[in-house]
């Protein structure tokens, strides 16, 4: 394979590693960053020679546990992987399961899934931006990001009943319908957020101190991004127009008019600014979803028929789905299914193998943070030690998701 400039720089600095002047710094697992992660950084003076991410601090053996649970019980399990983005990460599992079972999702349910996915994406990006702020000791950005995230969590709570662990998407539909006046409150939140994004630009992204920390730091070139298999906003900030929302046909994205933001620079600042662009696009999608959302059932006809008539009546009155008894032991036919979904951090991939029993034979998850982990090894090499938190913050790495 043709070696890129990044690999050359890496090799060159690695040669200095053998010398005595290189010393090691252990960062973590107890450190001011998002935690559950250790880095072994080797420094030559103030220049980073080598970074070794030491992962596995949050390895809770989710894939193995999924083999011991019935299909429906794995939905709450997997959403603990990325608790800040829980609808997006479970949507991949639910879609793969629907492919196995051969169910069509009614249009209203597809729109509702898209609505919650975008609310989750905004909350996830604000979480990432807040942490990026605290990494370079900009506590205003941290407080603002986390404070404004609460607005979106509040919306998600009104829709689903839980702040973080929604368990909203179920095979064949969603768990609850839109509450009354949800549209007005969502539009109010969007208007507020648009105003706040201007403040963010003023205090963080156009701030000379912040720009000096982020600009031209940790540049990821287009060919390197492709070669290393990077996903999500980190890939799009390097000029590659790839998004699982465009590639896969899921949710209501085919019926909604939206642009995927792309930036060319590939440095830390552009990775952060791309998240701001994505928040804007997500708010536009929410607005369109609320306008275009069709009427109809929120659970597939096949399962609605299984619910007793009396329960079905209360279901229509309250807008909350009662699970049919069949859900306790879903038995998909033997086979395999895969699904991809775009999360806030990138693309998540699910592979389910079924052997016809109520429990899956194997569930494989490839999470975006695990794929973006390579960046933490390659990007900081050659930079000053001071730049390391800036790069870590810009990558938006979430350890429980990578370790599963």
């Amino acid at each position: 394979m043709e070696q890129s400039s990044l690999t050359f720089r890496y090799k060159e600095l690695e040669r200095a590693w053998d010398g005595e002047k290189v010393y090691e710094v252990f960062i973590g697992p107890q450190h001011p960053a998002s935690g559950h992660m250790r880095f072994i950084v080797r420094l030559d003076g103030d220049i980073i020679v080598n970074v070794e991410p030491d992962i596995g601090y949050v390895h809770r053996t989710m894939e193995k546990l999924a083999e011991t649970k019935e299909y429906i019980k794995s939905i709450p399990l997997f959403e603990r992987a990325t608790i800040i983005d829980s609808n997006n990460i479970t949507l991949g599992y639910v879609r793969a399961l629907e492919k196995l079972l051969g169910i069509e999702v009614p249009p209203r349910a597809r729109y509702l899934r898209t609505l919650l996915s975008e609310i989750n994406r905004i909350a996830s990006h604000l979480y990432g931006l807040g942490l990026a702020g605290i990494f370079i000791n900009h506590s205003t950005m941290f407080m603002w990001g986390f404070g404004d995230r609460e607005i979106w969590l509040q919306l998600a709570e009104e829709l689903t009943g839980a702040r973080l662990t929604h368990t909203y998407s179920i095979p064949g539909g969603v768990r609850s319908d839109l509450p009354q006046d949800f549209k007005d409150r969502a539009l109010k939140a969007i208007r507020y957020m648009e105003r706040r994004l201007k403040d963010y630009m003023k205090i963080f992204f156009n701030n000379p101190v912040t720009v000096a920390r982020y600009k031209d730091i940790g540049i990821l070139k287009k060919e390197d991004a492709k070669r290393l298999g990077i996903v999500g906003p980190n890939l799009r900030a390097s000029g590659v127009r790839y998004d699982a929302r465009l590639v896969e046909d899921y949710g209501a994205y085919r019926e909604i008019d939206f642009e995927v933001p792309v930036r060319e620079e590939g440095d830390a600042l552009s990775r952060l600014l791309l998240r701001i662009d994505e928040i804007k696009i997500s708010m536009d999608i929410i607005r369109q979803v609320l306008e275009k959302i069709p009427d109809g059932p929120i659970l597939a006809e096949k399962y609605l028929r299984l619910i007793p008539p009396k329960l079905r009546k209360t279901m229509e009155e309250t807008g909350r789905v009662k699970f049919p008894g069949l859900f306790a032991s879903l038995r998909p036919p033997p086979g395999e299914a895969t699904a991809r979904v775009e999360m806030g951090h990138g693309e998540v991939f699910y592979h389910i193998i079924s052997d016809g029993s109520p429990k899956p034979y194997r569930v494989r998850i490839v999470t975006p943070s695990f794929r973006n982990l390579l960046l933490l090894r390659y990007l900081p090499v050659g930079h000053r030690f001071m730049d390391f938190p800036a790069i870590y913050g810009s990558v938006d790495y979430f350890p429980p998701e990578a370790d599963r």
Partner: protein, 181 residues
Amino acid sequence: MVCPLMGIVLVGNLEESARKASRWFLEKPPIRNLRDWAISFSLWPVHFTTSCCGAEFAAASCPRFDAERFGFLPFLSPRQTNLLLIEGTLTRKMAEAAKIVYQQMPEPKFVILMGVCALDGGIFHNSYNIVRPHELFPVDVFIPGCPPRPEAVARSIIMLQRKVRNSKYIWGDGHEPKGED
């Protein structure tokens, strides 16, 4: 020589005697009340995230719920903190780090377990890679929930403050991590 201080024998090693005298002084009611009052409003948790409940813990110390008004400020170094919050599942690899962090913290120190995973495994109860934190640390407050809401975190701080104000903890006794794991 028997000192007039409540019959404490102060002979032999000077350092030992000085420690005994200072302990006696700190345990005497007006000083003790003042000390407990001061500790209860400076419960600083160490910045040590173990799992996904950290998202709700972060929300608790941020603008909407603002746990800082209870004198509760997450701080970086274990040497300057007195509260260890186990946020969610504790894996085997993380438990070693948690024990070291706990040992580095100065007395008096407190432990709060957050989330049902920290209590007894929760949804991961049959995982091969987790430990039960209550087997490792002497725990002061448990917060159930998966994840607990930020209000629950704030309530746990108030409960711990009440416990400290009522002198319900023992200084330097039984605060060593247990178990070999």
